[in-house]
Structures are given as structure tokens and as C-alpha cells.
């Protein structure tokens, strides 16, 4: 089938797929940022068990393939009497993995701040939580806008995992499987999805650059 034919027959599917991909991306990324910040605070806090937990989290979720995690969530969790919907399984996988990367980027942001400002914060009597909130996290986030932009794009690409489970509406990659099991879309059907991924990634990249320029800390 040509691009024109594919779009005229499956145009609406593609659009739904794009919206699903966007939705999964946005929720995953917001979740990943929240968990990433919490894990990062654990990793630098004075309480050793929390630090170990933070390191453990990152080592696990940075190193597990997305598909493997999804299979565990779909097939292993029910053994523990915990049954999540397919949608939740995908969302969990595409949140937990990027969260570990988010924490890594924040850690490198924290390292860029330098011990001096931390000592200064201590010396004016800031407690650890206050210092994290007012001095460390705001700067770490601003130092890591560009890697976070990449992470957002990577998160979007990871949401293609959704194509491995029955979802309705399915995501951009799922649309391709849907088409190719019903008619002969071939590579062209992939091409259309790829185009949507690309466009989204380019927009994210540009916005990331703009944001970075706007909030960059003068040094």
C-alpha cells in the first residue's frame, strides 16, 4: 500500500496512535521525574539505608531491558496476586526505567554544583531538606535540561513497548502491527509512524534547547 492509501484507510488509527504515544510519554516522563528526584535525594541523603536503596534502584532499572520489565509486570505480578491493566503495565515500565536515568542526570547536575555552595548553605543553618529544596535540586535540574531533553525523547521511543500488549487505542508502533496483521502495509506503514516519532522528537529537542538557554546558570 502507498502512503496515501495507508493514510486514507488508517489515518484515524495513526492519529489515535500518536495521541496514545504522547499520552504515555507525558505521564511516563512526569512520573520518571518525580521518582527520579526522590531517588536522587535518597542517594545523597545522610541516611545510609536510603542511599543504598537509591543506588540499588538505579542499578536495577538502568540495566533491565524494557521488554523484560514489561514481561515481568504482565506475567510475573499476577503470581503475586497483583494484576495491573496492560496500560498500567506499560506505563510502569516506561516510568521506572527513565526514572533511573533521570536520577543519573540529576546526580551529575549535583556534582556540577560543587561542595562550596553546599557548605555555604550548611553554614547559614540550612537543614538537609531545605538545602536540597532551595539550593541543590533547582541547580541540578537547570544543569541537566539538555540530558533531560534526550531522556524525554528516549522515553517516547520506549513507549513503543506498548505495541507488545493489546491496548486500545494502541500507540504508534502498535498501529503498525495492527495494519500489518490486516493488510500488507510493509515498510511504508513503519515509515509513517517513524515520521510522527521524528517530528515529535525534533519539537522536544528544540524546546529543550530554548529552555536550557533561558534557565542556564551563569558561571
Amino acid at each position: 500500500m502507498s502512503i496515501g492509501e495507508l493514510l486514507s484507510v488508517y489515518g484515524e488509527k495513526y492519529l489515535q496512535g500518536l495521541l496514545t504515544t504522547w499520552e504515555l510519554t507525558i505521564f511516563s516522563f512526569i512520573g520518571a521525574m518525580i521518582i527520579g528526584v526522590i531517588i536522587t535525594v535518597f542517594r545523597v541523603c545522610p541516611i545510609k539505608p536510603l542511599r543504598l536503596f537509591g543506588e540499588f534502584y538505579v542499578q536495577i532499572f538502568r540495566n533491565i531491558p524494557g521488554a523484560a520489565l514489561l514481561i515481568l509486570l504482565v506475567y510475573a505480578l499476577p503470581e503475586l496476586d497483583l494484576i495491573l491493566s496492560y496500560h498500567s503495565c506499560v506505563l510502569t515500565a516506561t516510568t521506572l526505567i527513565p526514572a533511573s536515568f533521570c536520577s543519573e542526570y540529576l546526580m551529575s547536575g549535583i556534582n556540577a554544583i560543587g561542595i562550596g555552595q553546599i557548605e555555604a548553605a550548611r553554614s547559614i543553618g540550612m537543614t538537609f531538606p531545605l538545602m536540597m529544596r532551595k539550593i541543590v535540586i533547582p541547580q541540578a535540574v537547570r544543569f541537566s535540561i539538555l540530558p533531560m531533553t534526550n531522556l524525554l525523547i528516549a522515553t517516547m521511543l520506549t513507549t513503543s513497548l506498548a505495541s507488545q500488549v493489546p491496548l486500545s487505542p494502541t500507540d504508534l508502533t502498535g498501529v503498525v502491527s495492527y495494519i500489518n496483521t490486516r493488510s500488507v502495509g510493509g515498510v511504508t506503514s513503519f515509515l509513517i509512524s517513524a515520521f510522527f516519532y521524528c517530528i515529535t522528537a525534533v519539537v522536544i529537542g528544540q524546546l529543550g534547547n530554548l529552555l536550557d538557554k533561558k534557565v542556564r546558570i551563569l558561571r
Binding site: P46, G116, Q117, E119, A120, G125, M126, Q139, I217, R219
Partner: protein
């Protein structure tokens, strides 16, 4: 301990691995006193200064602030730290905050002062150290001397009972050293209790009430600046003073 003692160090010992950096150091600082700690590099002066507000932990001994034992950690330690100002060699201003915010963040966040009031006071402090016109810039836009004066204002905003200066002019270009020393001299005149680690001998001579000489982690000699610089008692102090004359 007299009633006037603000800071008292008793039998402070500290090791970095095998290195014995502070050896049974005893020092007490009275209200309004200006004590300058001098000595060769690696003698433990900065470490000693930093143990006073526990940016450095100690192995044994006691640090008393107004007679109260400095807690090891937690909120109580933070509270005591808030009462002792500290100025660092590398300024350490908060890079993402404006100059004004650098000065107000302590009073607002730690002392829970009203923001408008804190800003008013901060502007007065910035005026006093001569950088009021830079209030809305960020630290990186200021010269080293200006940044260090802001750091002093940031400490003053907490209404400290004493201030620690850890080599405050060592990272400055020569022409900026005096603008910082002048602010410090002014503070000393106003009666601020100050502990200063410095290599500025002329400043020490002019401003210090007492000079403390350290070498190899030991407190070797303390005296008035006149006595110390003119008639050092120990050979090590003589050697040190000779070496810096050249």
C-alpha cells in the same frame, strides 16, 4: 570559662587517615575579640576554623558555642550554625540566585523572617559592603572582591554572634584584596567577634586582638600582634616569619 567566651575549643583532635591534622587544640574566643590564625600551609588552620561550625567533624574534644556544646548533627547543629557566620575562600555564593536573594535566603528560609523586611535589611547590608547597585545581578556577573563582600553580607544577614573567615582574600586578585579587608576592618571596629584564617600579615597586625600561630596541627603560640610579630617566642614562629619576609 568566663561569661564573655563566645567560642571555646577544648582538646580538639582530628585525623585524616594517618595524618594527625589537629593535635589537642585549645582555644577560647571572647566576645568582640578578633583572632587571626596564621601559619604555614598544611598546618591545620583552615581545618581548625571549619571545626568551629562543624563543617569538619572532630575525633575527640569539645566545641562550645556560648557555653553550649555543639551537637554532632541534625536540626540542633543547623540551628547553632545559623548563629555563626562563615566566609569562604571561594565565596560560594548561590549561583542560581541574585545577589539580593543570596542575602535574603538565610533570613527568610532559616529564620522565617518576613520577605519584605529581609529585603530591606539585605539592601542596607549590601549598601554597607558597597555592592547595593549589583543587587539584581547574579554572582557570576560580579568581580571576586564584590562576590566576597556579598558573602560577608549574606553572613551578616543572619545576625551572627561570631564570624569565621577561612582565607577570605586568598582567591582574590591583588587589587581586590583591600576592598574585602576594609569591610572586615570595619566589622572588627564595630565589635564583631571574628576568627580569621589569613595570610595577610599587615592586616593581622592592624586588626587582630590576638594572633594564633599554628604549625603541624598544633597551636604553637598565641600573643598580641605586636608581641608576636616583633618578639616571637618559638623557633618555628621565627622561621615562619622569616620565610614570609623574603
Amino acid at each position: 570559662m568566663s561569661e564573655n567566651t563566645v567560642i571555646e575549643l577544648k582538646h580538639i583532635d582530628k585525623h585524616y587517615g594517618n595524618l594527625h591534622v589537629l593535635k589537642d587544640v585549645n582555644l577560647s574566643i571572647k566576645k568582640g575579640e578578633v583572632v587571626v590564625i596564621i601559619g604555614p600551609s598544611g598546618s591545620g588552620k583552615s581545618t581548625l576554623c571549619r571545626t568551629i561550625n562543624r563543617l569538619e567533624g572532630i575525633d575527640s574534644g569539645e566545641v562550645l558555642i556560648e557555653g553550649e556544646k555543639l551537637p554532632d548533627s541534625g536540626k540542633e547543629l543547623a540551628k547553632l550554625r545559623s548563629r555563626i557566620g562563615m566566609v569562604f575562600q571561594s565565596f560560594n555564593l548561590f549561583a542560581h540566585k541574585t545577589i539580593l536573594e543570596n542575602v535574603t535566603i538565610g533570613p527568610v528560609e532559616v529564620l522565617h523572617m518576613n520577605k519584605t523586611e529581609a529585603e530591606k535589611e539585605a539592601m542596607e547590608l549590601l549598601k554597607r559592603v558597597g555592592v547595593a547597585s549589583q543587587a539584581n545581578k547574579v554572582p557570576a556577573q560580579l568581580s571576586g572582591g564584590q562576590q566576597q563582600r556579598v558573602a560577608i553580607a549574606r553572613s551578616l544577614a543572619m545576625h551572627p554572634i561570631a564570624m569565621l573567615f577561612d582565607e577570605p582574600t586568598s582567591a582574590l586578585d591583588p587589587e581586590m584584596i583591600n576592598e574585602v579587608l576594609n569591610v572586615m576592618t570595619e566589622l572588627a571596629r564595630e565589635g564583631m567577634t571574628m576568627v580569621i584564617v589569613s595570610h595577610e600579615m599587615n592586616f593581622a597586625r592592624r586588626v587582630a586582638d590576638r594572633v594564633v600561630f599554628m604549625a603541624d596541627g598544633e597551636l604553637i603560640e598565641e600573643n598580641t600582634p605586636e608581641e608576636f610579630f616583633e618578639h616571637p617566642k618559638t623557633q618555628r614562629a621565627k622561621d615562619f616569619l622569616d620565610s614570609i619576609k623574603k
